[in-house]
Amino acid sequence: MQQVFKRPVSLKDVQTHFCPGCHHGTIHRLVAEAMDEFGVQQRTIGVASVGCSVFLYGYFDIDVVEAPHGRAPAVATGVKRARPDSFVFTYQGDGDLAAIGTAEIIHAANRGEDITVIFVNNTTYGMTGGQMAPTTLVGQKTSTSPYGRNQAKDGAPIRMAELLTQLEGVAFAARVAVNNPRNLLDAKKQIKRAFRYQVEGKGFSFIEALSACPTNWGMNPIAANERVGGEMADYFKLGVYKDTAEF
């Protein structure tokens, strides 16, 4: 008998608090698999953010520092500069990274910090109950945009992968999704590639992962999953935006 599928050793054998149909669990798994494949678990320091992603330390069997809301890239900068031999990644949601933490992500990226950022975009503030996020689509109803996001008043959703691609310090940027097997396999490939940048000291790498939030979207998991591949991927185009290294 040969074992062909098992829990990544970087992931703990526990139940998550994530809602049914949420993609965080899947993205956690892909990150853990990449960690296993590069053998970096034992020298990894994860930086947790604020939101549904805060319990990183409960699911990953790695050392973790918890950052204030939006500040994970600054905390990660301090960690990596003090311990350059460690493998450092942040795991942040869209409210955290694209609203309150905009300055920190842009400047950490612009300095070309040798870290990896996993950015989970589900177009809403999940943990606080589904308020409008910087990534909420135009027309999308949330608890603080009850009439739908109004571009004239609220602006258009921010495309972080494209925005960061403009910066010289960014070595790798990609947007992925895990809503179907094809996208999931590609997501795994790109997360691994992002990790490889750091493992080989090639600079700042950024993954934007589109994610479903059925609870706050008021959808069942299947409809939510479809929305990711539909209107979300129409606006937030999947793909590799920057890939500067030759491996």
């Binding site: 805060v54 520092v65 905390v75 960690v79 003090a82 311990r83 920190e104």
Partner: protein, 351 residues
């Protein structure tokens, strides 16, 4: 005997940080403390350290948080409006029990205020400037030598008690030049940092956090922090007494104001008035016992500050019940620094 140097107070802080083993500095330019990042941007790279001019005060305090979580000695510095921005990070560091040194070469406010010497950040510094009910060590140097010595002490106290420590100065002690003996780092016995993140290796996972959601967890955490503050108060309060033995009136003042007060006290002594000075060196923990002991005999205190009355509240809480506490303050701003003659007049008024 060590050579005497002639340096600015701000430079003394930077020199002391290096002597104390700090190799990581994160900051943002603001008057009147920019000599500190300028000095360290020049010196730290020579020592294989890291200097980052961050995008904001918020980012720099969080870089300090991250570096400190790995166990290294690290520092940030700023001035009042920048320190306001750092309060979020300071609260998180206090909650996660992270050491780290924060320098506030304060300026006058509120708001943009001005760049003149001020003691209006006393409340913010000693009462927990951010949310959640916490304390940090607050040291108030009143000379260039103390800027140096207390910076090294700040690093030691931060490591000993696993909490942030602040140097609270102003442009008087920050910008003036005085002779300095660059003392060696004290040989303090420090606890092993067995809590730092380092990559777990084959050991147990370590987490540096301030979130405690389990039933009773956060209350227990806060009670433990409180016990630590009580221990700090019992052990680490520091103050200077000058001519207090026979004093009929004692001036209470800290930092730059204490220097001016000392001159006024010497003038008063020349006129035959028995006046002394009690100068808190640690603002947190506040030297309560010093005031309690002193006012068992001397019943008259004149508290002088560069604000409209902040430390005086702690003085009132500390003195004997039958002691009188008078206050004289000048809120900060251009032209508001009192002269020794002005303070002598106040001393005579309350003597």
């Amino acid at each position: 005997m060590s050579k005497r140097l002639f340096v600015k107070g701000n430079e003394a802080i930077a020199m002391a940080a290096i002597e104390a083993g700090c190799r990581y500095y994160f900051g943002y330019p603001i008057t009147p403390q920019s000599d500190i990042p300028e000095y360290l941007s020049r010196e730290l790279p020579k020592l294989n350290g890291e200097f980052i001019q961050a995008e904001s005060e918020i980012a720099s305090i969080n870089m300090l948080l991250g570096a400190s979580a790995t166990g290294v000695r690290a520092m940030t510095s700023s001035s009042s409006p920048g320190i306001s921005l750092k309060q979020e990070g300071i609260s998180y560091m206090a909650g996660a029990e992270l050491p780290g040194v924060i320098v506030n070469i304060s300026r006058s406010g509120p708001g943009l205020g001005g760049i003149d010497a001020s003691q209006a950040d006393y409340f913010q510094s000693v009462k927990g400037g951010g949310h959640g009910g916490y304390h940090i060590v607050v040291l108030a140097p009143s000379s260039v030598q103390e800027m140096y010595d207390l910076t090294m002490l700040a690093f030691d106290l931060a490591d000993l008690y696993r909490m942030p420590a602040m140097i609270l100065g102003d442009s008087v002690v920050g910008q003036m030049k005085e002779p300095l003996i660059a003392n060696k780092r004290p040989q303090t016995e420090l606890p092993v940092k067995d809590w730092v993140v380092r990559g777990k290796g084959v050991g147990e996972q370590r987490v540096v956090k301030s979130l405690f959601l389990g039933d009773g967890e956060l209350e227990a955490h806060n009670n433990r922090l409180h016990d630590k503050y009580m221990l700090l108060s019992a052990r680490e309060a520091r103050w200077e007494e000058f001519e207090t033995a026979d004093a009929e009136l004692v001036v209470a003042a800290f930092g730059s104001t204490a220097r001016i007060a000392k001159t006024a006290i010497m003038q008063a002594r020349q006129e035959g008035l028995k006046v002394g000075l009690l100068r808190p060196i640690t603002l947190y923990p506040f030297p309560q016992r010093a005031f309690a002991d002193l006012t068992r005999r001397c019943k008259r205190i004149l508290d002088i500050e560069l604000n409209n009355g902040q430390m005086v509240e702690d003085v009132r809480l500390s003195v004997a019940r039958d002691a009188e506490v008078h206050f004289y303050g000048r809120p900060p701003g251009a032209g508001s620094l009192p002269t020794p003659e002005e303070l002598l007049e106040q001393i005579k008024k309350h003597y």
